[in-house]
Amino acid sequence: MGGKLDLLQGTLDLMVLQTLAAMGPQHGYGIARRVEEVSGREVLLNQGTIYASLVRLQQRRWIKAEWGTSENNRRARFYSLTKAGRKALEARAANWERVTAVMARVLRQSSEGSGR
């Protein structure tokens, strides 16, 4: 498969939530870097996109932002998961797993069908 993955609506949001859950408070760059590393650079066409996702999550009150100091001693906004965000992540992750499992089954069955 060539190029970056086409992300489904909300997928990036879920990735961001999961990243924050795994790593604790992070600035935007940290989140973007982590998503790239974990996904093997298959997502994130450009890193700027992450901020649209961050504002959406903030507006839902799933994450919050605070000023902090970065590794190289610069002021940067650090994002962290809220209680509601943790709950939302659990629910969405469970849902995502069910969807992928079902999709996987469905896709496998249809390819077997065409193989006959």
Binding site: G48, Y51, A52, S53, Q59, R61, A76, R77
Partner: protein, 895 residues
Amino acid sequence: MSAWLARTLARFAALVRGRRLDEAVEQDLAAHLNLLTHDLVARGMDPAAARREARLRLGNVASAIDAHRTARSFRWLDDARRDVGYAIRTLGRAPGFTAAAVATLALGIGGVTLMYSVIHHVLIAPYPYRSPDRIVDLRVRTDRGGMHWNFRPNEFLDYLEQSDVFESVVGVDDGTGHLLAEGIAENVEIVGATPELFAFLGVQAAHGRWFGPPDVQAGAPRVAVLNHRTWTTVFGSDPSVIGRTVRLDEDLRTIIGIMPPRFEWEDADFWIPVPAPVRTQPGDTSAGTLAFYGRLRPGITVETAEAQLTALVKRRVTLFPDEYRSFVRQSKTTNYHAEVRPLLDRTISGFDGVLYTLFGAVALLLFIACCNVANMLLARSSAREREMAVRAALGAGRWRIVRQLLVESLVLGLCGVAVGAVLASLGSHLLQDWMPVLDVPAEARLRLDVPVLLFAFAAGLLATVAFGLYPALHGARRDLVAGAAASSRSSTAGRRHRRLRGTLVIAEVALALVLVGGAGLLTRSLLHRLDFHVGFDYRPIFVTEFEFPPGTPAAPAVLRGFYTDLLPHVRAIEGVQAAAVASAFPTYGVRSSPITGPRPVAGEATALVQFTSEAYFDTLGVRLIAGRPLSAADVAASRKVAVVNETLVRRFFGGDSPLGRSIHLDGLAKSRPPVPDPDFEIVGVVRDYTNSGINQPTDPEVHLPFSIPGYPARYLLVRSAFPPERLATLVREKVRGIRPDVALSQPGPLEGSGIRSDWPVNDEHRFPLVVLAAFAITGLGLVALGVYGVIAYTVSQQTREFAIRLALGGERRHVAGQVFRTTCWLVGAGALIGLGACLAAGRVLASQLYETSPRDPVTLAAAVTVILVTGAVACTIPARRAMRVEPAVALRHDE
């Protein structure tokens, strides 16, 4: 709070916090870039290369911010806010244009809003009552014009109990009466109603309480409810009036409540409770009568109710023929039917036609305003061509540009609505006093309320589409190259543009001609109406009658004494030129008598007889031809002298001088009280004035001193410069000093008094004319502006051409001639089309015209002239500018 709700609220909040959120994301992106570069350098990349790589990975900053905006807010709303902000700034930079456009629109929108307000509050919803559209009254009619509406209890109850079309009913007994309170004597309208009246109408008292069934029980104290208007004018809005006892006719009654403003049921000053009807023996006529008002059940039509009640009436007529004898001479063929009349139909008599005509006229005005603004926008769009081309070149989509221009139009439109609403509000105050009283329900109040404002808003939106859409589409169609070159004066687009603007002007001229023509026809019609003579200037004359309290009947002697006392006081009022009393006043003499002169005449020999005080002719302003007028001494001594009119002299004396001769008025010998030996010596001759109806030949008339008991002198006539209301107050004060219990009855101007329909001109005729004339003048102003705009624009586009022509030896007057020709062509074409429209629209006006054809050639020619002159005037400034073109300057300036 759910995540969805939180986000929705946050998105709305983001609309107003846009700038701060932009800063936040910019900070984030800057930090991001810095950290990324830092990382890359740490991994061993050269700093310059690292910065470049970081930019690449972060992506386009602008599009990241854009994505942020999309995510955090409602994109279209945010854009709309941005567009509106931009539109306001753009319009703010051209204050002259903006003011002109807003003023033009405000005139149009204000005008339609005002007329809509009139239609809404007069025709659609004039009444403050509960479900007023279902309130009806009931009358019994015969096919020969007999009519009967005051029902005895049995009849009233039969209609109520034997039909099933009414939800509830109320009985009403109205009449005028005499109010007497401390320091107050007034002739008032007192309406008696069965106790359920206020519940029936569903209106609460503003102060105090209603009356109800307990107030009509035997032994209950007598009460009355006061009209708000009367409370204000008669009682000076004194709140302590509740609980006060006043005398209404013979009864002392306690005021228990004041109704809210606009509650004018049956035009009463006081509502008093009367007992509900109770069945009596058939044929018993001792019980009083009641008029029948009912509220139809929902879904019952007037026709259904009429059919049912007509059947009832027919049955009753056969059962109780005696009850119907009083109002009609019965025969076997007399056909009875019930008439059920909705509330609104009682007052509006053809006035709805007038109002809809005016609404049509003002809609034309709005169209003219829209044409004008569209024209201005088109002119502006060519000036803004460069801006549009640059924006298109920078990637603004066509829709985006259209939207921006539409938003600008919308902002203009809404400003027009706002200013127009203010204009309409001012106008409605003026019109409220101007509306013909008899055609409009007394409850109707003009004001800007929610429905009217919604209408104004809708009109504004519609106007925006009308004037804004084409210029917007037109503005967006410019192609890049032509636009950037910005030389529309040579392009076909420029020509198309000019042609379009020309079309708009033609339309404007045509519409304005319809308005001017309409106003002209109404003016001519009014001139025809005004073309009558009563023989004197009636305008400064005020007339009033007096009413004495019931129970103290005014004997003729008392009445004469009262007038004799009052007259000097009235004459003493500063500003009063003359005052007199009389037994009748123009335009009708009321009493007549057979007359015997010095020689026999052919045919009927009668003369009108007037009993007057001295100064009667001074008051009317009628000149004496010979002899002297009645003097104070004549009146004081009750001398048997007479002043006769010219007609009488011609008829009974031929060419002889009547002075010193005697006439015998036989009728006075039989008058009550009789005048013994009714022979009168003629002491003066007065010029004829109307005494038997306007535009009718004058009858012979005799004026006698009112101190001679014959017919009672009932009227006080005053000539002054005061408005009638003011004079009424002044006279009332004087009366109070003489007889505090005497009230003025129907005070008002001579014009329109007495038999109102006799006066050929009244508010009913002036109202549409004044309103339409105001619209027409406004329309003309707008047309002048439109013509000026287009011609000025054309001249500015042709400056170069003119310069070349002048440089090549062309004459300046030829240049000016060309400007005039262009104007003539536009205005002429418009006038031609408008003339056709006028002829078509005349039919609408025909019903309101008096002795005037809707195709009256003189009027139409005048209207066309007015339009042509307006056009000519409007083009003089641009024409002069064209003449003054300096070739050298213009040609150099052009590039």
